[in-house]
Symmetry: C2
Subunit: 336 residues, 2 copies
C-alpha cells in the first residue's frame, strides 16, 4: 500500500520507559510532526497515558493488545506463543496492510523472530539483519549487522550491504552510497576467514565498495554503509556507547573535583550539550530491520519520547521512500 | 636467568617516532628508573641519538643491528629473512639469555612471528596471544587476544585466559584474578558458536570466571582479564581509541566555536589533562606477548619516550616477577 500519508504501528509496551515515554513520543509525533500512529498495547493503559497529555490527537488510534513480551524473555518462544502481545499484534497490522511500518523499542530478538514469522523474509534474502544508525560526525552512517546473526557467512554480509545501500539511497538520499567492510587492517587480504571471503564478494559486486575500515574509523563516518558480522557489530556499538559514557563521565567528575572547575564548566554547558547531541542515538530514533517484507524499526531499549518521535518520523519517511521495493530489487529475480 | 637486575633489550628502530623517541625513552628509563637497557639498532644512528641527551648513562649498552623491518612489511617473511634486523637481533638476545625481555613498538606481526621462530612457544600452548593493558577507570584490565589470532578456537581462548590470569597475579599482584568473556549478552548461552563453546571451557576451568561482559562494560574494568578472539579484540581496542579521540575532539571544537567558551576552557585545562592521562595507553607502556618462552612486550606504534620508559619499567618488573614460570605452570606437564 505505502500510502502518501502512512500509518505507523507503535509498540507502546516496548522499552525500559514504556508505556509513559513511548506514548508521549507518539503524541508528540502526531501533534508536531503530523505522523499517523496506531498505538498498540492494553487499551485502558494506553487511554490513561494518552489522557495525561490533553485532548487526544486525531492522528492517534489505539489497537488493543493485552499481552506484553518482556525484555529478557526467550525471543522465539515469546513471538510464537504470545499472539496477543503488542509486538505480534503490531507486526500483523503491517502484514495485513493496516499499517505501513512497525516501530518497537522492545525485546530485539522477539521483534526479529516475530517479523520473520508473521511478515516473512524477502524472497532470496538468506538472513534479515538489524542495522544501527550512527549519528556521529554530523554524517549518518549505517552499521550492520548489530546482533541478529552472531554467526555470519560471507553471502549474508553481501546481502546486508546491498540492502543497506538501498536504504541509504532511498531514505537518506545518498547517491551511489559507499560501502566498507569492518576489518583489522586496511589492506586487502587482512582479516579472519570470514572477512577475507566477504571482501572478495563485496569487491566483485556492483556496490560502491571502498575496502576495509578499522575500529578507529567508526566514529568518523568512513562510509555510508559499514558491514560486519552480528557478533562484532553488537560488541562494537555497545563499546562505542560505553566509551562515550566513560569519557563524558570522566570529564564530569574531573570538573566536580574543584569548585573553580565547576564554575568554569557552567559557562561551557552549551558546548557540552552540542557534543552530547551529536553522540545521541535518539536524534535518529531507530534502526531498520532489513530483509523482511514489511518495514520494521527497532529502537534502543532506553528510548525516550524524543527517540520515539524521531523513529516515527523516519518510519513514515521510509514508508514513502520506496525502500522496500528497492531492497527487493537487490535480490536477483527467480523463476518460480 | 631472570636476574634481580634484569637487562631489557629494546628495539630502537620500531614505532612511528623511532629512533628519536625510543632512544630518549631508554635514556629516561636508565637514568630515572634505573633500568638496564640493551638498545638494538644501527650502531652509528643510536650513538648519535644517545649523544643528544648528554653523557651516556652507564646502564645503556648498544647492540648493533644494521637492518630495519618496516611497519607494513610482510611479518613472517621479514622475520625469517632480515636476520640482522633490530627485531630479530633483539629476540635472539632473549633466546641466548643475554637479555631478560624484549620491548618493541615496531611491526606487531613481525615481532610475533619472530618470537615464535627464534624464542619458541611454551610447550603445550597452542597459540601465543597479544594482550592489551587498558588503563581506564583507574584499575588496570588486560584484554586479549588483540590481533595475533584473527581466527580463534575455544581451546586457544582458555589458554589465553589462563596465561593472562598468571600475568595479572604475578606482575600486577591481583589475588585470584577475575576472568570474563567478551560477549553479546550477559546470560550464559548468549553469543556465537565460538563464545558459547569458550564459555563452557572457562566455566569448567579452575579460573575465577565471572561470566560474560559486554562492549559497554569494557571501559569500566569489569574484570582483571577479559578474553576474546583476535578479530574482535583488535576491532574493539581500535574502536575505544577512535571513540576517545572523537569525543575529546568534539569537545575541543565545541569549545573553539565561541570566544567565551575558550576563555572558560582555559580554567578547565587541568581537569581535561586528568581525563587524557586516564585514557592514555602510554601510562602502562606495552602489552605482553603471552605464550613464548621469553618475555616480549609490544608497544603502540605511536609510542613516545614516556610510553617506552613505562614499557621498560614494566618489562623489568615482569622479569623479576616470575611470570614466565607461572605461565608454564598453566599448561599440564607432559611426559616426553
Amino acid at each position: 500500500m505505502i500510502a502518501s500519508d502512512p500509518v505507523i504501528a507503535l509498540d507502546a509496551m516496548g522499552g525500559d520507559d514504556a508505556p509513559g515515554e513511548i506514548v508521549l513520543g507518539a503524541v508528540q509525533a502526531a501533534r508536531d510532526l503530523g505522523v499517523r500512529v496506531a498505538l498498540v498495547g492494553p487499551r485502558e493503559v494506553l487511554e490513561a497515558e494518552i489522557a495525561k497529555h490533553g485532548a487526544r490527537p486525531e492522528r492517534i488510534t489505539v489497537v488493543h493488545a493485552p499481552e506484553v513480551i518482556g525484555m529478557v524473555e526467550s525471543p522465539a518462544l515469546a513471538a510464537r506463543h504470545k499472539k496477543e502481545s503488542s509486538i505480534v499484534v503490531g507486526l500483523k497490522l503491517v502484514k495485513r496492510g493496516e499499517a505501513d511500518a512497525f516501530v518497537s523499542a522492545g525485546n530485539t530478538g522477539a521483534i526479529m523472530a516475530g517479523a520473520i514469522m508473521y511478515i516473512g523474509r524477502v524472497r532470496g534474502i538468506e538472513r534479515p539483519s538489524i542495522a544501527a544508525l550512527m549519528p556521529l560526525s554530523g554524517k549518518l552512517t549505517v552499521l550492520l549487522d548489530i546482533g541478529a546473526n552472531a554467526d555470519a557467512r560471507p553471502s549474508y554480509m553481501l546481502q546486508w550491504a546491498q540492502m543497506a545501500a538501498a536504504y541509504m539511497e532511498r531514505v537518506w538520499k545518498r547517491d551511489n552510497p559507499t560501502v566498507a567492510l569492518l576489518n583489522i587492517g586496511e589492506e586487502e587480504g587482512k582479516g579472519n576467514t570470514l572477512t577475507q571471503q566477504a571482501y572478495d564478494l563485496l569487491k566483485a559486486s556492483p556496490l560502491n565498495f571502498i575496502g576495509n575500515v578499522e575500529g578507529r574509523d567508526l566514529p568518523f563516518a568512513a562510509a555510508d554503509v559499514i558491514v560486519t558480522d552480528g557478533f562484532t557489530g553488537n560488541v562494537v556499538v555497545k563499546t562505542m556507547e560505553g566509551m562515550a559514557d566513560y569519557v563524558m563521565g570522566e570529564i564530569r567528575s574531573a570538573i566536580k573535583s574543584r569548585p573553580w572547575y565547576m564554575a568554569a564548566s557552567v559557562l561551557l554547558l552549551p558546548a557540552f550539550g552540542k557534543v552530547r547531541k551529536k553522540t545521541d542515538y535518539r536524534e535518529y530514533g531507530a534502526g531498520p530491520l532489513l530483509g523482511t517484507k514489511g518495514l520494521v524499526f527497532i529502537g534502543h531499549g532506553r528510548s525516550d519520547a524524543k527517540a520515539i518521535s524521531s523513529a516515527l518520523r523516519v518510519a513514515a519517511e521510509s514508508a514513502r521512500s520506496g525502500m522496500l521495493e528497492a531492497i527487493q530489487q537487490t535480490v536477483p529475480a527467480r523463476s518460480s
